[in-house]
Symmetry: C4
Subunit: 286 residues, 4 copies
Amino acid sequence: MKLHRLRPPVTASKARHETFDVIFGHDTKAGRNFDLVLIVAILASVLVVMLESVASIRSEYGGILRAAEWVFTVAFTVEYVLRLWSVGRPFLYARSGLGLIDLVSILPTYLSVLLPGGQVLAVVRILRVLRVFRILRLAHYSGEASVLMNALRASRYKITVFVFAVMTIVAVVGSLMFLVEGPEGGFTSIPRGVYWAVVTLTTVGYGDIAPQSALGQALATVVMVMGYGIIAVPTGIVTAEIAFASRPSVGRRACEACSREGHDRDAEFCKWCGAGLGRSGPNDEE
Amino acid sequence: MKLHRLRPPVTASKARHETFDVIFGHDTKAGRNFDLVLIVAILASVLVVMLESVASIRSEYGGILRAAEWVFTVAFTVEYVLRLWSVGRPFLYARSGLGLIDLVSILPTYLSVLLPGGQVLAVVRILRVLRVFRILRLAHYSGEASVLMNALRASRYKITVFVFAVMTIVAVVGSLMFLVEGPEGGFTSIPRGVYWAVVTLTTVGYGDIAPQSALGQALATVVMVMGYGIIAVPTGIVTAEIAFASRPSVGRRACEACSREGHDRDAEFCKWCGAGLGRSGPNDEE
Amino acid sequence: MKLHRLRPPVTASKARHETFDVIFGHDTKAGRNFDLVLIVAILASVLVVMLESVASIRSEYGGILRAAEWVFTVAFTVEYVLRLWSVGRPFLYARSGLGLIDLVSILPTYLSVLLPGGQVLAVVRILRVLRVFRILRLAHYSGEASVLMNALRASRYKITVFVFAVMTIVAVVGSLMFLVEGPEGGFTSIPRGVYWAVVTLTTVGYGDIAPQSALGQALATVVMVMGYGIIAVPTGIVTAEIAFASRPSVGRRACEACSREGHDRDAEFCKWCGAGLGRSGPNDEE
Amino acid sequence: MKLHRLRPPVTASKARHETFDVIFGHDTKAGRNFDLVLIVAILASVLVVMLESVASIRSEYGGILRAAEWVFTVAFTVEYVLRLWSVGRPFLYARSGLGLIDLVSILPTYLSVLLPGGQVLAVVRILRVLRVFRILRLAHYSGEASVLMNALRASRYKITVFVFAVMTIVAVVGSLMFLVEGPEGGFTSIPRGVYWAVVTLTTVGYGDIAPQSALGQALATVVMVMGYGIIAVPTGIVTAEIAFASRPSVGRRACEACSREGHDRDAEFCKWCGAGLGRSGPNDEE
C-alpha cells in the first residue's frame, strides 16, 4: 500500500479532510494523539484475547473480558467505517494489506455470535497485533526498518543457499541418528530425527529427545560443534549487509558528463568516463 | 550524576578536602586503595546476602552471617555519612542515582529490626551490587563503557523496530501453537504459547513445554530456523555500530590550503598537500 | 567436477546434443523446466523415504509409498542412463561427486530386492537430498555460494585454532566436572563429562545431564559465561571474512599515467588523474 | 616462554644439537615428523585416560589401558629427559609454562604407584591435552592465533565492562526470581536463582529449574529477550576487533622526517609533521 495514493477525495467536505488527517496522518497533533490511543487500544485488545484463553481467568472474569472485547470491536468498527468514509478511494484502502488486517481485526467477534468454535476466532483476533505496524511508518522507524529490510533483501540469495545447506545437513544427520539410536532413544522415525537435528543445530536443545548411546552422543557432539560454527554464517551475512547499508562511504555525486553515480568521496575524475568531477558540491554530503 | 559537580565545599577544612579525595576520587593512592577496599566489601556483603538465603547455610552459620551483615551495614553507614559530610552539596549527592543506591544498601538492615519479612529486604540488599559501577568511572573502563553505550544508543531505533517485529512473531506463533497443540501438549493458554515461542525463538529451549504432535513439531521446526536467522539481526545491528564507533574515525575537517576532507581525527597536517590543519575546532568533534 | 569438462561428444547426434542441453544445461527453457521437475521429484522422493520411516504411516500407506519409491527410482534410473549417454566422457561424469550421488540415489531400491535390512538402505536414499545442490550451480546462487565458501576457506586456519582451543577447554572442563559431580550427578565418566561440556558450551543445553551440587553449578556458571564469550569468536571470524569478501573491493591496479593505486575493481578511468585504466590484466583479479 | 631463548648449549656436541632440532624445531623434516608422532601420542594417551574412566570399559579392557598408559608415560619421560638434556638452559625450560605441562603429563602415573585415589590423578593426566598447543607455534596457525589473541586482548576492557554488567543483571534477576517463584518453583535460594539466570541469559536453558508461576514466566520472558540482545554485544566487540585486526588499510610507511608510522595508504604527506612521504616503496605493502 502506498500511503500517498490514499488521499481524501478532492472535492471532499472539510470534515472528511480533517477526519483523514487525524486517522491516516501522523503530522498533526490530533493525528499523533490518535496514533497513541490506537496503539494502546490495539495492545489492550490483544491482551484481552490472551487473557480470555487462560481457563482460570475466563471462568472468573469471563463477563468483563467479553464486554471489553465488544467495546474494542465496536471502536475498531467505527474507526474502520471512518477510514472508508474519509479516504478518497475506499476500495483501494479496503484491498490493501493494512486495510485487510483492519477488517480481520473486527470480523471474528461478529462471527462468534453466528458460529461456535471460539478458539480459532480468538487466534484470528490476535492478528490485530499486526496493526501496530502502522506506527512503523512514523519518522525514524521507517528509515531504520528499511535499512533492516534492505540488508535482509540484499542477502536473500546467500541466505537461501545457507538454508538449503542447513536443510541438507539436517536431513542427513536426522537419518543417521535414526539409524544409530533407533526407537529406544526416542528416534522413532526419520522426521523425528530431523526434528531433533533442528533442535540441536539451532542450539535450542529442549531435551525431549536426546541421544542415549555412546555413538549417538559422539555424533551429537559433532553436530553441536558444527552448529556452533554454522550459527556464525547468517550472522556474518546480515552483519556485513547492515554495515554496508549504513556506511556513508560512497558519495551521491553524479558525473556531469556521463551522469553515473557511485564515485568515492575522494574521487576527482569520473571512474566511468574519465571526465573531471569538479569540487564536491554542498549537497554531496548527506 | 555529573561527578565534577560533586566538589568539596570551597571553604572546607583540610580534613574534609582529604576525605573527599579519598572517598570520591580515583587519582590519589589513598583513593585507589579505598576503591579497592570498597569493591571487596561490596562483593563480600553481596555474597553474605546470597549465602543467607540458602536454608542449610542459614541454619548452621546464621549467627555469623547476621553479624557480618551488621558489620558491613555499619561500615557502609559510616561511609555514607562521610560522603554527605565531605561533599559540597550533600543534597545533590543524596538525590543522585549512586547516592540513592548507597542509601538503599544500608536501609534494609535497619528496617529488618523494625519489620518482619526478611526475604524482600534481602533482595533489596542485593542491589548493593550496583555500587560496583562506581569503578566503571575509572580510566579505561569509562571510555569503553561509553563506546558500548553509544553503540547501543545509536542502534535504539533499529532495535525498537526489531523488538516490535519479534513481539508480533511471538504473539502470532504462540497463538498458532495454542490452536495446533492445545492443552494436551502443555499449551493451556495463549500466554503459555507466547512463553513457549519466546523460549524457542531465543534458543533457550527449557523443554518444560515442547510440541508433541507432528504438526506442532513441524511448526516448531520453522520457528527454530526462523529464530536462527533472527538472532543474526541484533548481532548485526550492534556489531555494525561498535565497528563504526570504535574505528579511528575520519573527521570532517577540510584542509584550508587544498580544501580536501578525509583526514584522520588525530592528523595535524593535511595528508594531501602537507599544510598544517590547525587545532581541531570545537564543532569538529561530535 | 568441472562442469565445462562435461560436454556432449563432438561428433554426437543432434538428439544427444539436445538431451545434453536439457539435462545438464540451465540456459534453455527446456533445461530450466527439467531442473524444476527434477527438484520437485528429489524433494518428493526424500519426503517418501521420511514418511516410510514413520511406523504408523508405513502400516497404513506402505503400499502407496513403496509404489511411489519405485516410480522415483525408475525415473532417476532413466535420467542417469540419459546422462551417461549424452555426456561426452561418461566415465568422467560417473566418477565425479555429483555422478556418484546420482548412482547412490537409485542403487538402494534395487538392492532392497536382493538384501534385507531396509533401514540402512532407507538412510542411504536420504542422500538424494544432496542432488539438490545441482541447482546451486544456477546464476545468483553459485556466486553467493562461492562468496560463502571463500569466506569459510579464508578463515580455515583461524577456525582450526579455535576448534582446537574449544576441544582443549571441553576436555579439561569435562574431566573437572567428572571429578566434582561424580556418578550421582550423571557424570559417570570423562566422555560423559565432555559430552556435557559440549552441550553447555554450545548453549544447546538439553538438560539430560545437569550439575546437582553447588560446586558443580558454580563451575557450570563459569563455563556458560565462557561459552557466551566464545560463541562470539567464530561469528567474528566469519563476519569479518564475509564483509571482506563481499565489499566492492579495491584492486591493486596502478594508473599508468599517475601510477596511483586504490581504484575500484569496476573503474575504467583513474579517479586521480582521469587517464584510462585499460582493461583489467589477467593478474589483476585474484 | 620465548622459544628463541631456548637454544642448545653453544659448546654442545653435534648429537645434542641434532636432538634439539628434532625435539624443539619445526623446520627440519625430522622435526616435523617428531611433531606429528607427538601429536598422535598425546591424543592417544588422552583417549586412554578418557576410556579408563568409563566403568564398563575399565572392567573389560583395564589391563590393556593401564599397559598403554605406562607405555605413553615412559615415552613422554624419555622425551622430557631429552628436552632437558638438549636445551642450553634446562631450568629455564623446566620452569616455563610448556615445561611444567610436560612434567605434569608424566608425574601422575608415577604417583599412582605410591598413592591411591586414581580419579584425581586421572583428571590431572587430561592436562596432557594442553601439550597440543605446541603445534600452534607452527606457521599459519601462530599468525592466526595471534590475530585472535590480539582481537581478544584489544577488547579486554570492553569485555570486562560487559561481564560486570552481566554479573549485575544476573544477581538482580536471580534475587527477583527467588522472591517471585520461591522454593515451590525450584528457586530455593538466591544462588540457585543466579544459576537459573545465567542458564537463561546465556540461552543454555537446561530446564532443570524453570519458572512455574505466570509472574515468573513473564519475568523469564523479559530476561530471555534481554539475553537475546545482550548476546549481540560480545559478538559485536570481537567481530569489530577481528575485522580491524585483519584489515590491510593502514600502511607501514614511516615518515622520513619524524619517523612516525600509521599513515593511510593514499597519504602523500606525513599527517604528523607535514613532510612529503615520497612514493610507496616496494616494502610498503605486506
